[in-house]
Every structure is written in structure tokens, then in C-alpha cells.
Subunit: 159 residues, 2 copies
Amino acid sequence: MSGRREGETALAHDPAKLTDATLAFIGTIETAFGPGNCPRNIAQARETGHPAHLHIDPPYRPGLDGITPGDAVIVLYWMAGAPRDLIRQVPRHRESATGVFSLRSPARPNPVAMAVVRVLAVDAGVVTVDAMDCWSGTPLLDIKPYLPSVDVPPAADSV
Amino acid sequence: MSGRREGETALAHDPAKLTDATLAFIGTIETAFGPGNCPRNIAQARETGHPAHLHIDPPYRPGLDGITPGDAVIVLYWMAGAPRDLIRQVPRHRESATGVFSLRSPARPNPVAMAVVRVLAVDAGVVTVDAMDCWSGTPLLDIKPYLPSVDVPPAADSV
């Protein structure tokens, strides 16, 4: 693995070489960002004022029926290019390594990222949402309706 | 496609046959549920009082460092077995078809499901969480920390 920082641990295998299941890209995410200017998180992306456009490939466009402006949705996308074998990582601004499953790092065994956003418009296979913090051209995997009844954790003192 | 209801639309291709990206299962989810008794959603699963156990495969266990009881986490898992080509579906208790991207159906082009839960215990590669609404044996893809600052949609009137 290239780019490993001191204290980080890599797996003995590369999860990218395993094919327990396969994904089909359903489109591409257009943002105002690339390698040089990408916000660190979606809150920062929102502050830039740039919306994002989810370009849905033609066969999948009938799947947008029922999505309307104002809806809150969860967008799943693929963080292509990140190493998948870094099981313990030293995040920016931290001293020591911690497990990848306690981080939102794009470098993870299965780099499926998620963003919770608002739909601004749906037109001709393009869903415009308020913000996304990924590079333009990122592959799109799924759109799901956000449901407060299931997508908010139970109170810590209730479990 | 077998099991299609009147009004539903299937894709001309099967996304399951595409390999734009590959996934590596990192473990298995143990629940009290199977085909005969599975709750419809995580709220119902929570009401049963049965926790779920995320069994992490040995190579991935160092990735749990930093997860502690009380944490809210997002669990991503694979809904193996659901058809992936049903682009417009008639949900239970509805009259007409709607697009898969406005539904939380397990039958979708990329059947990556998510659950937002609380960690009850972490021990020897097993993460116990308050509830999961999937069959026991479901493959596990990822665990991410839940962050209220990014995982809650912006107010509808703020975008």
C-alpha cells in the first residue's frame, strides 16, 4: 500500500480483489468540485452554495417516479480510487490510529459513501440536490427516500 | 422476471450481471429473524426487543477500534436474493406503481441497505446493536459512525 502513515495498519489482502457481490453504476454525480477544491464534508459543500446534479442513466430513469422537489433523500455513491485495505487509519488532525469503522474516511473495505440531501429539481433524468461533497464524475449507486422514523438513531438511554 | 405485479416495470437488463464495482463481505448479521418472522422495518424490529449481532470476519476486526457502547452507527448490508431489475414497483398497500428510488424496497438495482442503530457491546469481533430488520445470515458491508451534523437533511425551507 502506498501512502500509509505511521501507525496505520493494512489488511493482508485487498478487498478490491474480492467479488462477493457486484454493483451496477446507475449514473454520475456532477459537482463543482475536483481534486483541488473538494470540501471536506457536506456541511462545507453546502456553504459553497453549489448544488449537485445526479445524472441518471436512461434505463434507470423510470425509477425516479415519485421523487419530487423538497424531498429529503439518501444518495449512495462509489468512492472509486480510495485504497480499500487500510483497516486502521490516522485521520487528519489526530495523533493516533483508529479503526476504519469508527471513521467516515473514503478509504474503507467497501467504499460506499452516503449523503443526506434535499431534492431541488427533477428534470429529464437529472436530479438536482442541494449539495454533495464528492468530485464531479463520481459514480452513483442508489437514491433512497430519507425516513426520519428509521434513519435517526434511538435515544442512547432508550436502548 | 418472476413475481412481477400488475403495473410494475422491469429493466431490459439485469443489474446483477454488471460488474462496475465489486464488494467484499466483511462479516454476517445475526438476528432473531428469518423468512417467516421478519419485521417490516427497524421500528418493528426494535419493538421485538431482540438485539442483533454483527459478526466481523477476523481480518476486519482491527477496524472496530474506536467503536464503543452507546455509539450511534450506520450499518450497510447486502440484501442478497432480491430481484435487481424492478425499476417501478407496486408496494404493499398501494394501488399503483412508483419508482424504486422513491421506495425503501430491498428489490433495487444495487441492494445496499442501511440501518441506523445504537451499539450495545463490542466483544471479540462481535458488535451487538439494538436492532436490525433483516434475516439472520445477511452479509455485512460496512459500519460508519452516525454524525448528526451530516446525516440529517437540511430544513426544507433552507435550501
